[in-house]
């Protein structure tokens, strides 16, 4: 079965950066947002690697990545992602931070997907992360699915296999360290991925160079995309203020520390 795999994925600050909220004229943002190095959202990254794996096993499948973010940042991040695997990019030039409105984001993504030349819903698998590392809400993928009229949806997916009869067998994370297993007869479906099980592919310079030949024009003509800045009224955004008075226990034998910890556990 050949699928049209569409991966929705945004940008997130490099995970090691120090983040601090600030108030901007258009609402909350991050201090030095322009300066922060970005990565492809890690959850969406897992979705992309799974997409590549699926496409490899399902000949004729295609991968398109729909990404909303400031054009220059998208371009910079693509220089890393594009080396991993072959895909086409549909770039939307707009705000990319966590404080944007998920409803507007879902509309922008769904509109972009629906406008893909040759988009065939019956073959579509819409992939994304189960949450972003920015907003962390886990709502956009469901809304994209609804807007596209796809009601077979899965959240926190860790595994997808395709049965010989073409059914999708999907493992979703549920509470208690368990997975729920479902069978979906056929595409279309929305799969919002957790981590999956595939490692990040190594960089492949040839793939990167080939990808970039088509990505650069896509980036240059990225569609300016406005979101609704008034959808959410933020009263406050703050860092947690709790600093604890840490009691330092040092130069104490391990046995004594163990005794103290054992007593604490039993409390």
């Amino acid at each position: 079965m050949a699928y049209q795999i569409i991966v929705c994925g945004g940008l997130a600050p490099d995970p090691l950066q120090t983040l601090e909220p600030v108030t901007t004229p258009t609402g909350p943002g991050l201090k030095n947002e322009l300066m922060l190095p970005n990565v492809f959202d890690p959850w969406a990254g897992h979705a992309l690697y799974e997409a590549a794996n699926l496409a490899k096993n399902q000949p004729g499948s295609t991968i398109k990545v729909v990404s909303l973010g400031p054009k220059a940042k998208l371009q910079q991040v693509m220089m890393t992602v594009a080396q991993k695997l072959p895909f086409e990019l549909i770039a939307l030039d707009g705000p990319g931070g966590g404080f944007t409105d998920a409803v507007s984001v879902s509309k922008a993504l769904a509109d972009a997907i629906a406008a893909i030349p040759g988009f065939d819903k019956s073959q579509a698998l819409i992939f994304g992360g189960w949450e972003s590392a920015t907003r962390g809400a886990g709502v956009v993928m469901q809304m994209v699915g609804e807007r596209l009229g796809i009601t077979e949806q899965f959240l926190a997916v860790d595994e997808l296999t395709v049965d010989p009869d073409g059914a999708l067998v999907i493992k979703e994370r549920v509470e208690g360290g368990k997975h729920q297993i479902s069978k979906c007869a056929a595409a279309p479906a929305v799969l919002a991925w957790a981590t999956g099980s595939l490692p990040e592919p190594p960089n492949h310079p040839q793939t990167g160079m080939a990808n970039m030949r088509v990505m650069m024009p896509a980036l240059q003509k990225a569609k300016p995309t406005a979101l609704d800045p008034a959808a959410i009224a933020y009263a406050q955004v703050a860092l947690p203020a709790v600093t604890r008075q840490t009691r330092i226990v040092k130069d104490v034998p391990a046995a004594d520390i163990a005794a103290e910890i054992a007593a604490w556990i039993k409390q």
Partner: protein
């Protein structure tokens, strides 16, 4: 006051999850509410907690017993329409986290998830950027679905009341739930209801004082501790990543154990971090742990100081060996 609907689901066994009573309590503080329940045994479950509800609805039947997007979304949509509520309080379980955002879209509304507090004027609190900052926000869009983070709200006692009005819903779906996959009981290391979370950091697989790694011993110490104390096991991202890259690792760890940056933010009463110098658990994954202790070789570790209540400056291997004797 805007009309509120409390939306709950039952478990596969037909009971309400613990967090259901938290959702009811959170709504009751704000004002009058309708109650709706979806799932196996929904009507009976609804009646068991409906004392404070103005109207009570239920969608049940075989098709709705399973946790599945298409059926859950259709049921939730039907109840939301029947109630006509402007604000919907729902339990932030995986089942509803999957289904309700799409329902908000279907109803031309909006949805907030992972809510940890709600103010009387319906400003909600939730975390952004992997629990690194907290926002207080409100929306004008209605209906507005609020998914409450389990464990973040006080629970109300269950008080039975009026019987539920059943709502008939028909929906087509191509998806069948075929079962669950769970680790064997003796390998079970994720226990959401445990009192204690043990966080294992990448230090466990690094070279120790003698210059060698002791990963098998580390694995034994950790597993033994988790089994004896019936605690839940969490891990830092770097340690989980190592296992994906075929390095010397703790064999039982998977991404499901990951806390912090790109993992879960578990709620446990106590947390003990081991071998985590410079790793995120101290900062992020710990946010919802009340009582935090860390064992770390570096007294100056900026990621423990100010974040943990007690920092033991010691070798985790030595302390855990001693603990093994005591537990």
């Amino acid at each position: 006051m805007e009309k509120i609907l409390v939306l709950l689901h039952t478990t596969d066994e037909g009971a309400l999850p613990k967090a259901a009573l938290e959702t009811i309590a959170a709504a009751a503080v704000i004002g009058a509410y309708d109650l709706g329940v979806i799932g196996a045994n929904a009507a009976a479950a609804a009646q068991s907690v409906s004392a404070g509800a103005a109207a009570v609805f239920a969608v049940e039947g075989e098709q709705f017993a399973q946790s599945r997007y298409a059926t859950d979304a259709a049921a939730a949509e039907a109840i939301a329409k029947a109630s006509g509520a402007a604000v919907i309080f729902a339990t932030g379980t995986m089942r509803f986290n999957r289904a309700l955002p799409g329902v908000a879209c279907r109803l031309n509304g909006a949805c907030e998830t992972h809510i940890v507090a709600i103010e009387p004027d319906l400003k909600v609190h939730r975390w952004y950027y992997r629990q690194r900052m907290e926002a207080t926000l409100s929306r004008a869009a209605r209906p507005w679905i609020l998914l409450l983070e389990p464990g973040a709200f006080e629970s109300a006692p269950a008080a039975p009341g009026a019987a539920a009005t059943p709502i008939a819903v028909t929906v087509e779906t191509r998806t069948t739930v075929t079962g669950y996959h769970a680790p064997n009981a003796d390998q079970q290391t994720i226990r959401p209801d445990a009192q204690l979370l043990l966080v294992a950091g990448a230090g466990w697989t690094k070279k120790q004082k003698d210059g060698a790694t002791h990963t098998p011993e580390a694995a034994g110490l950790i597993l033994n501790f988790v089994q004896k104390t019936q605690s839940s096991l969490g891990s830092s991202k770097s340690l989980v990543d190592l296992s994906g890259e075929g390095q010397s690792v703790l064999p039982f760890l998977s991404h499901l154990h990951q806390v912090g940056q790109t993992g879960s933010s578990p709620r446990h009463r106590k947390g003990l971090a081991t071998c985590c110098h410079g790793e995120e658990p101290h900062v992020v994954g710990w946010r919802f742990i009340n009582d935090r202790r860390a064992i770390n070789l570096d007294a100056a570790c900026g990621w423990s100081r100010g974040k943990a209540d007690v920092l033991y400056v010691a070798d985790s291997f030595e302390v855990m060996r001693e603990l093994e004797k005591l537990l």
